[in-house]
């Protein structure tokens, strides 16, 4: 079993690369991504698991990176918004004007991407259940709903 006492160097598999990060046992994955690896797409919004702005994919599943310790992510595949390259959901967010200030966008997009990976044919109910873990304060959610539905439908047909 992996053990860390005091500050230590860990290896994280992020966006297909192996990256080294100096962390404390208490440091969150969000902290390691932002402060150690310079991946600032994931945002702190509440650091309490309530807002979803820090969402990344871990082994394909959306995880609030403020609720996961960096050391827990060792040996797992982490994907951040910086690791998405021209995913349809990104274009859908642009086309549908599904953001304004953009601060929640990375987290929303990663949660959407997780949904697209795992439930490409998600019903409205499933989509809402997933995306209710994220907060957007600028838009009305109508735009985000349109964006995710356009991708779910596209991938279905």
């Amino acid at each position: 079993m992996f053990q860390l006492t005091g500050e230590g160097l860990i290896e994280l598999n992020v966006n297909g690369e192996t990256r080294k990060a100096l962390v404390r046992p208490a440091d969150t994955l969000l902290f390691a991504l932002r402060e150690r690896l310079g991946l600032t797409g994931a945002k702190p919004g509440c650091e309490n698991g309530d807002c979803g702005a820090c969402t990344v994919l871990v082994d394909g599943w959306p995880i609030k990176s403020c609720l996961m310790l960096a050391v827990e992510a060792v040996g797992r595949e982490i994907q951040t918004v910086e690791g998405l390259n021209g995913a349809p959901i990104q274009k859908a967010f642009v086309d549908k004007f599904a953001f304004q200030c953009g601060y929640c966008t990375s987290g929303f997009i990663m949660n959407c991407q997780g949904l697209i990976n795992i439930h490409p044919d998600a019903s409205d109910e499933v989509m809402q259940e997933w995306l209710q873990s994220n907060i957007c304060r600028c838009t009305s959610y109508q735009e985000i709903t349109e964006a995710i539905k356009s991708v779910l439908i596209t991938e279905n047909t």
Binding site: D27, V94, C101, G102, I135, C138, Q142
Partner: protein
């Protein structure tokens, strides 16, 4: 003529940066050697600081300094200076910053902060605005009469909690009441709430050996920050540099200046090194300023035929423990107190009072959401008393050109817009004629509510804006303005205005997203839905200046009179033969003759703007011009209430605004829908909950509930376009307006559905149940 950029759904310039995680916000900038400040906040709502023991904290690893209110004592505030950045001697609200720990890492600072022990001696608290007015009320500030006034028009009353009062006296109330065959009265309460910008407020500051103070902040007011840092730290204005990158939501909450004082103090304490202070969500809710609370009384009188004859309004505005912009909002509410209705006899007393709650600041709508709720609920009561349809009553009384506002501004089509058309359109959008209350089955009722709104800038009379339009050698443009991009695509809208004026592709207008007060031209603040208007006017003027330079130079190059030339598609061409032209690229940095001689140089256009003829409100009667024009509108909501448990669904929400001219339809629609979304949150679930000791209970997003996906209704948005003669392409501000009357429309619908008078927000099922039970008893 067809437009090039105006009226087009241009995708925001920074869109791709935002969907790839590459857009940078203030706390995303790494800075080697950055130190971290963590706040210690008050656990007591009103009390004397008896002792503070930070001996243990000082010994903790990584700790560099611990600041308390004695470190750099000062009082701050945009209207009246009443607030110490760190509490001194006493605390006035739960969450008030009392100490600041600076350490090498955030974890070390937080660990040390938790070791500071503070003892308070509790004082009696002021728990609501009306309680603040009582003669026996505890004083939140003992020396209210000794504070420095930043603006002359603020009138605190000694030995009271009243920090400001605004009076509106228009017409003859006796005459008005005599002509009123029907009168209604209502009392309304709107609690405090939070902005909940997804990016919590954060600032980093450093002081260079040259004495320059460099501030990086998530702020809506970089020039305001610069001014106050300069004043309070005794440094020349030009030596303070404030940088603001993209901001993760503001809604007014990032217009006040709080973190910036603390960050500069922190840097000072560690020899000028850079220090970042970032709020936790809990601090952002409890320590940083929030939305005001309001207790309102509205009395309306009308003749039997439904024509308003008299209106009397009492607003007790709770600004929390410190004034901040509370007095300004109080003025804003009073000067627009009637809503968009014609009333010749108006009496308004608006008081801005201290309570022992988190202090208040600007919140989308600048007080309008609160008083509009009171007015629009009163209008529905009046409609019921007159047995008139609520839409019909409103239509009979809508304000028109030729009428005057409560502060006696003479209204013109340009200044006012056309609220009647807004109401007509919203009535159709929500399909009012099918019935405003329909019983679906034994338990389910569908009902609709409507409400009207208006809002102007309520800005300082000397607020200015400017723009710099600098040409690149390829003929493209760099646009530099002092407005901050907080979300509504302000910078893209300004690029559209510039592209249209230059008759060129908007993709060839490059906009600097960041604001740097040493580089960017001035802009008052990115607030009040005024940036498109104010900065847009400056951009128009800068475009005109640039075009003059371009045409003059082209005239020389083309050996003709400037009058014979026109500009378009990055070419200057002969009006009578567009095939004879010179490319803008060949003159944008001077024109080079075939032999090499060059005349002219870089084309740089400059533009400035100040709103004309604004004036302060008269102390005795409130007369004055609070803004350059109004944006009026009408909103409607349809709900489905379940009588079995009083839960309800918001089915549809509609807004029609007179936007003057819609510059970017998709962005504009999004901003208005977002406003409705926030307003429906306020109407249905959001509020601060204080316990008996006035300790704020819901400081996290787990307990402070906001709307989430799937809870939203179907949103409907439409426009009226009555141009404002002074505005770029006639465009009126629309940034705030979607929120203003939407919770009034929601609660009008719910009151109709439940057949009880709901006169407060948020309306949760329990409140409906309670009112129904009271009704039965």
């Amino acid at each position: 003529m067809t437009s090039i950029a105006i009226g087009k759904d241009i995708i925001r310039k920074e869109a791709w940066d935002k969907v790839t995680g590459r857009a940078l916000y203030n706390a995303d900038y790494a800075s080697p050697g950055l130190m971290h400040g963590v706040l210690v906040t008050s656990t007591c709502a009103h009390g004397l600081i008896k002792s503070m023991d930070y001996s243990e904290a000082q010994q903790m690893p990584g700790v560099k300094a611990i600041l308390t209110g004695d470190y750099h004592p000062m009082l701050t505030g945009p209207v009246i200076e009443d607030r110490p950045p760190l509490a001194r001697d006493k605390v006035r609200y739960y969450g008030e910053p009392v100490a600041l720990v600076i350490a090498n890492s955030k974890a070390e600072a937080a660990a040390a902060a938790s070791k500071i022990k503070i003892q308070y001696e509790n004082l009696p608290t002021v728990d609501k605005p009306s309680a603040a007015m009582s003669k026996e009320a505890p004083l939140v500030h003992e020396h209210i009469d000794q504070y420095r006034h930043v603006i002359p028009e603020v009138y605190p009353q000694a030995n009271s909690n009243i920090v400001h009062q605004v009076k509106i006296r228009k017409g003859d109330m006796n005459k008005g009441w005599q002509a009123s065959e029907v009168t209604v009265e209502g009392e309304f309460f709107l609690p405090q709430a939070d902005h909940i910008a997804m990016e919590t407020r954060n600032t980093r500051a450093e002081i260079l050996p040259s004495g320059d103070i460099i501030v990086h902040s998530s702020s809506q007011a970089p020039f305001g920050v610069r001014k106050l840092i300069s004043q309070h730290f005794g440094v020349d204005l030009g030596k303070v540099v404030v940088n603001v990158p993209l901001v993760g939501g503001g809604y007014g909450g990032k217009a006040p200046i709080q973190m910036e004082f603390l960050a500069v103090m922190a840097s000072q304490a560690v020899g000028g090194r850079p220090v970042l202070i970032a709020n936790t969500r809990e601090q952002d809710i409890s320590a940083s300023p929030s939305k005001l609370s309001l207790e309102a009384k509205v009395k309306l009188g009308a003749s039997r035929d439904g024509i308003l004859q008299a209106g009397e309004y009492t607003f007790i505005v709770g600004t929390g423990a410190y004034a901040d912009s509370g007095p300004r909002m109080t003025g804003s509410m009073a000067s627009n107190c009637t809503g968009p209705y014609k009333l010749d006899n108006v009496w308004c007393d608006a008081y801005c009072v201290y309570t022992n709650h988190t202090y208040a600041t600007a919140y989308r709508g600048f007080g309008h959401t609160s008083f509009t709720f009171a007015v629009e609920r009163a209008m529905d009561k009046l409609a019921a008393a007159l047995n008139l349809d609520p839409v019909e009553l409103r239509r009979k009384n809508l304000i028109k050109a030729g009428d005057t506002s409560p502060s006696q501004v003479i209204l013109t089509p340009s200044r006012l817009g056309d609220v009647a058309q807004c109401l007509d359109k919203v009535e159709k959008l929500i399909n009012w004629s099918e019935g405003s209350r329909v019983e679906i089955d034994n338990n389910r009722i569908r009902a609709k509510g409507v409400a009207c709104l208006w809002k102007t800038s309520d800005s300082p009379t000397d607020a200015i804006a400017a723009a710099i339009v600098a040409f690149n050698s390829d003929g493209s443009i760099n646009l530099n303005v002092g407005a901050v991009e907080i979300g509504p695509a302000t910078k893209t809208t300004l690029a559209q205005i510039l592209a249209e004026k230059m008759k060129m592709d908007v993709n060839r207008v490059h906009v600097e997203m960041e604001v740097n007060t040493r580089v960017s031209p001035h802009h008052w603040k990115t607030v009040a839905s005024m940036s498109t208007y104010m900065v847009g006017r400056a951009v128009e003027e800068a475009a005109k200046d640039a075009i003059n330079q371009i045409i003059s130079l082209a005239a020389i190059a083309m050996k003709c009179s400037p009058e014979d030339l026109a500009l378009g598609q990055e070419q200057v061409y002969l009006k009578d033969d567009p095939n004879i032209y010179i490319d803008l690229a060949h003159i944008a940095h001077g024109y080079k003759y075939p032999g090499g001689n060059t005349i002219g140089s870089q084309v740089i256009g400059r533009g400035t703007y100040v709103m004309p003829h604004l004036s302060s409100l008269d102390r005795e009667n409130g007369k004055g011009k609070p803004g350059p024009y109004w944006t009026p509108g009408a909103q409607a909501v349809e709900v489905e209430l379940n009588l079995a448990d009083y839960t309800y669904k918001i089915l549809r929400a509609a807004t029609v605004l007179d936007a003057g001219k819609v510059i970017n339809p998709k962005s504009a629609k999004g901003v208005v829908m977002g406003g409705m979304s926030m307003g429906l949150g306020l109407g249905s679930r959001e509020s601060f909950i204080y316990d008996q000791e006035q300790e704020l209970q819901n400081t996290s997003l787990r307990s402070y509930k906001v709307l989430r996906i799937g809870e939203q209704p179907e949103y409907l948005v439409d426009w009226v376009e009555t141009p404002n003669a002074n505005a770029p392409f006639g465009a009126r501000g629309i940034g705030e307006h979607g929120i203003v009357a939407i919770h009034a429309a929601l609660v009008n619908a719910l009151s109709r559905a439940a057949q009880v008078e709901l006169d407060q927000v948020p309306v949760i099922p329990e409140l409906i149940w309670q009112k129904r039970e009271e009704e039965k008893a």
